[in-house]
């Protein structure tokens, strides 16, 4: 159970067709994915999927509506990461949902990107949004454009765009780093409604402090499901909840066992805790 035999085991496994040291991991993977899949199936069979309100998402439509009234554009920033990050892919999915609202309101949305691949994907998403809103003719590929790879040049450009075009609604979804507060404070200076969502823990404080609504971590990934309102999308959220229940159960069982082991000094309990942490969760 120490580090050495485990390493030896891995070495043995390199010639086999299955890495047995990862069997517990496979188990965890199957359980978590299974929970999500099960709820997708249940949703398709018509089970009602009720989820709680998330204030930030309920206000997306208001923000777009306000922009329309004021005759100003919306700004959508998909973060500074490339398509090899799930946050960016989630942002593109959210863009399609937000874009649909924009198309329905006949508002204008501008999507500057920092990566060429993101530009391609965002164009596809926005075009499809306009099509599903029944306004394919209003889509303009020029609204989604590439700026530059460099983080701060991109931010400098966004600042300029905000100061000049004064968007009434700003959406920041994706992977953000130091630019989070620059964007949020510039947006605040022009009086825009700002909704942000990211999975970069260290940037959340700035969005929380300076934006009107912030989706924290998991909420950000849930946004596309919420905005779509489709039953099987909502089902995946229920699946995630089951995942959290499993986590909570694991922590409670583990902590109780560890506490008892500490109090009683029982080797069996200690062994169980070690098995849990070093084998199952290694």
């Amino acid at each position: 159970m120490s580090a050495l035999p485990a390493a030896a085991q891995t070495a043995d496994a390199s010639t086999a067709w299955f890495d047995w040291s990862r069997i517990y991991f496979l188990f965890v993977l199957v359980v978590l994915c299974g929970a999500v899949l099960a709820f997708i199936v249940l949703a398709r069979r018509g089970m009602p999927m009720k989820v709680r309100q998330i204030a930030g998402l309920a206000s997306v439509e208001d923000a777009v509506g306000r922009a329309t009234e004021m005759g100003r554009p919306c700004l959508f920033v998909p973060g500074i990461l490339d398509m090899n990050d799930i946050q960016t892919i989630a942002a593109v999915t959210i863009l399609e949902r937000v874009g649909k609202t924009v198309a329905e309101y006949d508002a204008r949305i501008e999507v500057p990107t920092s990566k060429a691949l993101v530009m391609l994907a965002a164009r596809e998403a926005l075009q499809s949004a306009y099509a599903s809103a029944g306004r394919p003719e209003n889509f303009s590929a020029d609204d989604v454009y590439y700026v530059t790879e460099e983080q701060f040049a991109y931010v400098g450009h966004l600042q300029g765009v905000m100061a000049r075009e004064r968007p009434a609604a700003c959406f920041y979804f994706g992977g953000f780093f130091a630019e989070s507060l620059i964007l949020a404070e510039t947006g605040n200076g022009i009086g825009a409604i700002q909704i942000a969502g990211t999975a970069q823990p260290q940037q959340l404080p700035f969005f929380v402090a300076a934006c009107d609504y912030t989706l924290i971590g998991e909420e950000f990934f849930a946004a596309s499901a919420y905005l779509s309102g489709e039953p099987d999308q909502l089902g995946t959220l229920k699946g995630q909840d089951v995942g959290k229940l499993i986590v909570a159960a694991g922590i409670v069982i583990g902590a109780v066992a560890a506490t008892l082991a500490e109090l009683t000094g029982s080797d069996a309990l200690r062994g169980f805790v070690t098995f849990l942490t070093e084998r199952v969760m290694s």
């Binding site: 580090a3 983080q151 701060f152 780093f177 130091a178 200076g189 823990p201 260290q202």
Partner: protein, 319 residues
């Protein structure tokens, strides 16, 4: 201080003149009412002076604030101090110019400390521009102050490799699979100090200067966690420091956070090796603590004022 203000009267004059309109408005328009409608550009201006004035003061007089090293800086220092001359250490420079303001003082102090200890230094970079940062520090510290140290014998710049954390995973078991040459194009087998170095595991210590991803977290996850005999200390930016606390002390053996960490560590290195009149390049962090203090006090003051305004706001009760 008084003599400084008299001698540099013009900066005092500019300070007062630039704030005169604000003071005028506060005096005539009512203190609380004016503060409530304060244009944020006045805050920007205050911030400017809070940083510019101490820099000028420190720059002209050369005085710095005394620094009391904290626990983490002390353990970082001890990790390097306990090594013996000739021990190999890996210096990973995972940052670029945009964070150089915060990290250069640490990089300088780390390299100086390692050079004073006569450790063998292997430089690598996981960020494309990290290789340039390495060259900078070699040119700034090793070339002028340690001319007896030879490239290839005492230190080597292995340069940047793309692949982010995948690089760590590979070099922790086999350094030469990725690093076939150094940054100058010399084959690794022709570099004397590479003899006997097959992987990162032979390093007595990993010193990481990190501005984000890939960086300290990845070194901890992919090098130290699977090979617990490895030890690592890191100098990181203020924004990323909170993320690393959970790894202390089992997976991360020393941590310098932001300019404060740099200043504390500089103080330790100076106390041990400094001499009376240290070269200014080794006190960069200490110098920066002056503006740091005034700016922190300004922000604290702003928060206090904002809350007084909030709690005395008559419209608050109605809401």
């Amino acid at each position: 201080m008084g003599a400084f203000l008299v001698q540099e009267w013009w900066i005092v004059l500019m300070f007062l003149a630039s704030l005169a309109p604000l003071l005028h408005r506060l005096a005539t328009g009512g203190l609380v009412a004016s503060l409530r409608t304060l244009d944020r550009r006045w805050i920007f201006l205050l911030m400017f002076w809070a940083v510019a004035f101490p820099i000028y003061y420190v720059g002209v007089t050369g005085k710095t604030l005394p620094e009391v090293p904290g626990l983490l800086a002390q353990s970082t220092f001890d990790e390097i101090e306990r090594l013996a001359p000739g021990d190999p250490v890996l210096l990973a420079f995972d940052y670029e110019p945009s964070s150089a303001g915060e990290l250069t003082p640490m990089a300088t102090a780390f390299v100086r400390h390692a050079a004073e200890k006569r450790l063998r230094m292997y430089f690598v970079a996981l960020w494309p521009l990290g290789a340039q940062m390495i060259d900078d520090v070699i040119e700034r510290v090793l070339t002028p102050d340690f001319p007896q140290l030879q490239y290839g014998r005492d230190f080597v710049n292995l340069g940047y490799k793309s692949g982010q954390e995948a690089v760590i995973k590979v070099i922790v078991t086999n350094l030469r699979e990725l690093y076939t040459t150094d940054v100058r194009g010399t084959a690794v087998q022709n570099i004397p100090m590479m003899e006997g170095i097959a992987s990162v595991q032979q390093m007595k210590l990993i010193i990481d200067v990190s501005a984000g991803t890939p960086g300290t977290k990845e070194w901890v996850q992919y090098a130290v966690t699977p090979y617990p005999s490895l030890r690592i200390v890191a100098g990181v930016t203020g924004v990323s420091a909170p993320l690393y606390y959970p790894y202390i002390p089992r997976q991360l053996h020393g941590l310098l956070g932001a300019i404060k960490g740099a200043a504390e560590y500089e103080q330790l290195v100076l106390t041990r090796y400094g001499g009376e009149n240290p070269n200014p390049k080794y006190t960069e962090g200490l110098r920066r603590m002056g503006p740091q203090l005034v700016a922190h006090l300004l922000i604290i003051g702003l928060i206090v004022v904002a809350n007084i305004l909030y709690f005395t706001d008559p419209s608050r009760a109605r809401r």
